[in-house]
């Protein structure tokens, strides 16, 4: 388990993370979403012992991470900007990983190279951006660590490769009980991959939830009645958002959608439609409910009703 307590990291006068607390359980795919500059990469660097916290603690399986090889040999990190040895190829990089990670599997490395159809003898600096990311993913997954950290993993991968990587991650989580922590500035990238999602905002996690619950906990209702009405007509429901134009009202409701549908239907509406929300919409409404106001365009998207 990854445990962060009051984790703080500053760069000069900039507070990249401030009193961050979180628990990431073992055997899950944990998504960390946030706008640019929210602190996602800083958090991952702290998770991997690259940065030393200015305040607070971060531990993995109970051990402090910074400069602790015993803990770090269970972690592998694929950063947003990749590093390869100069003039190296995949085989050379595998040698480097093999010498550093005690559980590095050459068998897995061979399998992954075959699956991704990458030339292992070709210099990595001749690879495209997507191919380089595939190469980094192959190396990370071959390290057979308990924790895998991906920073903007799917950036640059085509849909086919994206699905391939996702499949491999699932396999690792299911078969080896591995924990994957993935960051992205786009919820759409994560919603069909992660078990848990957290929103990082101005250096702190403001919202954290199980994805499945999150997706079903909110729904949108479009309703119209012949007579005039207002929000109080639905006082027995937890309405997060209510807007009315003419006789048609749009509501965001938390709870059981079937129960809500039956309760409204009993009032003989002219129109009644239950619509699912995207994960981004769920996040935004939940955040608004918590009192946060976002300007991040990626989170607002164009689909908000």
């Amino acid at each position: 388990m990854i445990k962060a307590r009051k984790l703080t990291k500053r760069f000069g006068t900039v507070e990249a993370l401030l009193n961050l607390n979180c628990n990431i359980p073992q055997g899950c795919i944990y998504g960390l979403v946030g706008a640019n500059g929210a602190g996602k990469s800083t958090f991952l660097r702290l998770c991997n012992g690259i940065y030393k916290p200015d305040e607070g603690h971060i531990s993995i399986n109970g051990g402090e991470v910074f400069d602790n090889p015993v803990v770090k040999e269970h972690c592998v990190f694929v950063p947003d900007e990749l590093y390869f040895l100069p003039q190296s190829n995949l085989n050379r990089m595998a040698l480097l990983y093999e010498s550093m990670y005690p559980r590095f599997s050459n068998e897995r490395f061979n399998d992954l190279c075959a699956a991704f159809k990458l030339d292992r003898t070709r210099q990595l600096n001749t690879f495209s951006k997507g191919m380089r990311r595939q190469a980094a993913t192959i190396l990370a997954l071959s390290a057979m660590t308990d924790y895998v950290f991906f920073d903007e993993t799917f950036d640059g991968l085509d849909p086919v490769m994206r699905n391939l990587v996702k499949g491999m991650l699932y396999d690792d989580v299911l078969e080896r009980g591995c924990t994957a922590v993935i960051t992205s500035h786009s919820l759409r990238e994560l919603e069909d991959t992660c078990d848990q999602l957290a929103l990082l905002y101005k250096g702190g996690i403001v919202f954290e939830s199980d994805v499945q619950n999150l997706k079903t906990s909110l729904f949108k209702v479009q309703v119209a009645f012949a007579q005039d009405y207002d929000r109080s007509r639905f006082s027995n429901m937890e309405i997060l958002s209510f807007s009315k134009q003419g006789s048609v009202a749009n509501m965001i409701i938390r709870g059981d959608s079937m129960k809500a549908k039956l309760a409204i239907a009993a009032q003989n509406p002219l129109i009644l439609e239950i619509l699912p929300l995207t994960l981004e919409e769920v996040f935004l409404y939940e955040m608004e409910a918590l009192g946060y106001s976002f300007e991040a365009p990626e989170l607002k998207g164009g689909e908000r009703a």
Partner: protein
């Protein structure tokens, strides 16, 4: 182990390049040296392994910058710090990998050099090979460790390189400047006599630079003690670098320094060398004013800060810190001056001096006589010499105070008696200090020295004959030079019986030139070079009549190589020189005459000279001398080579460019067939110094004939009588000529006697 192997692999790119360059350079330079036409000494360690001197700096910096290059880029730094290896382990893995590459390169280069020297049978000090490997490895690691510290403190390649220079050289530069100031201010302390903390070569990496500036430091640079001291520094610097590396924030990558404060510290450090140069007296105060120094210092500071901080406002805020290095400069000036005065003025009492040591006037030169090494070990406890040394020191100091420098009056009577000697005083309380003293009378000094039996033994000791590697420029490994070894063997046999010092340097100086008389007559010199352990020496021995077998061997050697003196050509040119027709024509003859009978019954060596030019001054006198020269050359034709040093004999060299009336070149047809010609020059012989097996190596460009390879020649009794008469007249005319032309007054002493006063002693 795995991180170490990985680091070896990581460094292999630059490691292999450096390895290849070093190997190629070592091979090329060794082959060049070993195949050179002429050697006269065993090479120094600097000369033998010169490519490794470059490797110290190139290897140290390149390997460190490559090994720790990931610290300068965020992505690279993140990657390495994310790996499951502790920073401590990562640092040592890179360091040990660099050490492996350095040691492998040094070892291979040294081995290759040794192999080339061995194959080509070029003499070298074998122990150098053992010393060179750890020496150059440690020196390179000094640069590496300085760079490792710099890389751990900064986050860009440029600042890393700049800080490397500061870490590596700043302290040593300050030390060197202070030492320079003390040497200049005291005037009686040499670079070799500074206290250990001011000696530039204790640090063997910066010492290499110091010895380029002060070559006399070369001898002490390779002292194993310096190597050990440097190894300790390497260890300390690596430990410091390790701590800094472990504490280094990863986010420093791509930033010059952790903070503006650190930038200011670096800026102040960059200014220090300028103010110290002035403060220590290296930059003369007459040539440069204080405002200019402050201006240069401020300029460096401002430019550095503007580049580093990228803000004029921040630079201005930090400007007061410039006062720190300026204050350091002022403190340095007063510190250096007062330290120099204190050292200069220290004169012990004779009774406090346990003993003195004479380190040898030539100790700073490339080649040192063997006897000087031995003498430098002698402890002179005798009262006379202790007192003489203390009085001389007191007098030297007083003279400097009075005149500002050592301005002893040089007059005809005493100037040649002045002797400058480095002297070490060892006090009874164990303290030790050295000064370069100017003794007023070297013979007095030598008299006092001779009270010491160790000294007397040292100056008469020859190096083991088996240690001699070069003889008279010849190589013992080359059989063509074996006859030289006959001369040397004879000298080794005879010298102990004579009581002469082995080297003339330790002889009592005779102002009356008595060394040209009787047994002191000098037939030539033979030089030897070799080594004992790691001590290289170069000796020159005078071959005197007092060692007759050596003289005979020498004469035999000279005569053997004098295959044809072309005496007929000499006579023809001498006769024709009365009427030289061309402006460039000339003729000269010079000779040494041995065993000339003198009026006081002694036998002496005398020199005679005659020359002719188309527009001679003192024509009448020259014309008279010409008659004598013509007759002498005619008699010379009848002379025969001799190897008996007691014979009345002559050794004639001559040179000329003389044309016949028909415009033909006298001797041209003969000389054209000689071994060597160069351009329009004809050469009849070569200096014996360059002759090994009779081949001629002398060549001139004037078109003249030069005969510098005569044999020693003696005469029949009748001719001998006539020659002596000729010499009497020649000497008189020569003295007259010298007086007329140059105002030279003939030396007082016995005149040439009659032939009856000498006999040929065969």
């Amino acid at each position: 182990m795995k991180p170490y192997l990985e680091s070896i692999r990581k460094l292999s790119r630059v490691g292999l390049i450096l390895f290849a360059l070093s190997i190629v350079a070592s091979a090329v330079i060794s082959i060049q040296y070993c195949t050179a036409l002429y050697h006269d000494n065993v090479p120094s360690i600097t000369k033998m392994f010169s490519p490794l001197i470059a490797f110290i700096y190139a290897g140290g910096i390149v390997l460190a910058m490559d090994g720790f290059s990931f610290l300068n880029k965020r992505t690279d730094s993140d990657f390495y710090h994310s790996l499951p290896v502790s920073r401590k382990k990562l640092f040592w893995a890179i360091t040990l990998a660099a050490l492996t590459w350095i040691a492998a390169t040094v070892l291979s280069s040294v081995l290759l050099t040794v192999i080339i020297f061995t194959i080509t049978k070029t003499p070298f000090v074998q122990l150098y090979a053992l010393l060179a490997v750890p020496f150059f490895t440690v020196a390179t690691m000094m640069v590496f460790s300085a760079c490792a510290i710099a890389m751990s403190l900064t986050g860009t390649a440029i600042t890393g390189l700049g800080l490397t220079v500061l870490v590596f050289g700043l302290v040593r530069f300050v030390q060197f400047a202070v030492a320079r100031g003390i040497v200049a201010n005291t005037q009686i302390i040499s670079w070799l006599d500074l206290p250990w903390y001011l000696t530039p070569v204790t640090n063997i990496a910066t010492g290499q630079i110091a010895q380029l500036l002060r070559p006399m430091l070369r001898h002490t640079l390779y002292d194993p003690i310096n190597m050990l001291y440097s190894a300790v520094i390497v260890g300390a610097e690596l430990l410091l670098a390790r701590v800094l590396f472990a504490k280094r924030a990863s986010e420093l990558a791509e930033h010059g320094a952790k903070s503006a404060t650190m930038q200011t510290v670096f800026a102040c450090a960059a200014v220090v060398p300028v103010v110290i140069l002035f403060a220590s007296g290296v930059v003369s105060q007459q040539n440069i004013s204080i405002p200019i120094v402050v201006g240069i210092a401020a300029g460096i500071y401002v430019i550095y800060q503007l580049v580093a901080l990228r803000s004029t406002k921040k630079m201005l805020i930090s400007l007061p810190w410039l006062l720190v290095p300026l204050a350091l400069g002022v403190a340095g000036y007063f510190g250096t001056t007062s330290a120099a005065k204190s050292m200069q003025n220290f004169v012990p009492n004779t009774q406090d001096v346990a003993y003195v040591q004479l380190n040898g006037a030539g100790r700073g030169t490339e080649y040192i006589p063997y006897q000087q090494y031995l003498v430098s070990e002698v402890q002179f406890t005798e009262t006379d010499i202790r007192q003489y040394a203390v009085e001389t020191l007191r007098d030297n100091v007083a003279t400097i105070h009075r005149a500002g420098y050592l301005n002893y009056t040089y007059d005809d009577q005493s100037s040649y008696m002045l002797s400058t000697q480095p002297v070490t005083f060892v006090l009874k309380d164990g303290r030790k200090f050295s000064r370069v003293l100017t003794f007023l009378n070297q013979n007095t000094l030598m008299d006092y020295c001779q009270q010491n039996s160790d000294f007397n033994e040292a100056i008469r000791t020859l190096p083991p004959q088996s240690s001699v590697r070069y003889l008279q420029g010849g190589d013992l490994y080359d059989k063509a030079y074996m006859e030289n070894s006959v001369i040397l063997s004879a000298y080794y046999d005879e010298l102990p019986q004579t009581g002469y010092p082995a080297n003339d340097f330790y002889r009592i100086y005779d102002p009356y030139m008595n060394y040209m008389v009787n047994e002191e007559q000098n037939y030539g010199n033979i030089s030897t070079a070799g080594y004992v352990g790691m001590m290289r020496y170069w000796d020159s021995y005078t071959i005197r009549l007092g060692t007759p077998r050596t003289s005979t061997a020498w004469m035999q050697y000279q005569n053997n190589h004098s295959k044809n003196e072309y005496l007929d050509l000499l006579q023809e040119m001498a006769n024709k020189s009365e009427t030289l027709t061309r402006d460039m024509d000339y003729f000269n003859i010079s000779m040494m005459v041995y065993n000339v009978p003198m009026s006081d019954g002694t036998r002496q060596t005398m020199s005679f000279y005659f020359d002719r030019y188309p527009n001679d001054a003192a024509l009448e006198l020259k014309t008279k001398m010409q008659t004598l020269v013509n007759e002498f050359t005619e008699i010379l034709m009848r002379s025969t080579p001799t190897t008996n040093p007691n014979d009345f004999n002559v050794y004639v060299t001559w040179s000329g460019r003389v044309h016949n009336d028909d415009g033909s070149y006298i001797g041209g047809d003969i000389i054209e067939q000689q071994f060597v010609s160069s351009g329009n020059s004809f050469v009849s012989g070569g200096s014996i110094y360059f002759v090994s097996n009779g081949d001629v190596l002398y060549g001139g460009m004037s078109g003249a004939i030069s005969a510098y390879n005569p044999s020693f020649r003696s005469f029949s009794p009748e001719d001998q009588v006539r020659v002596i008469e000729i010499l009497k007249q020649w000497k008189a005319m020569q003295d007259e000529y010298n007086y007329t032309m140059y105002g030279g007054i003939p030396q007082e002493g016995p005149s040439i006697g009659d032939a009856t006063e000498t006999t040929t002693q065969g």
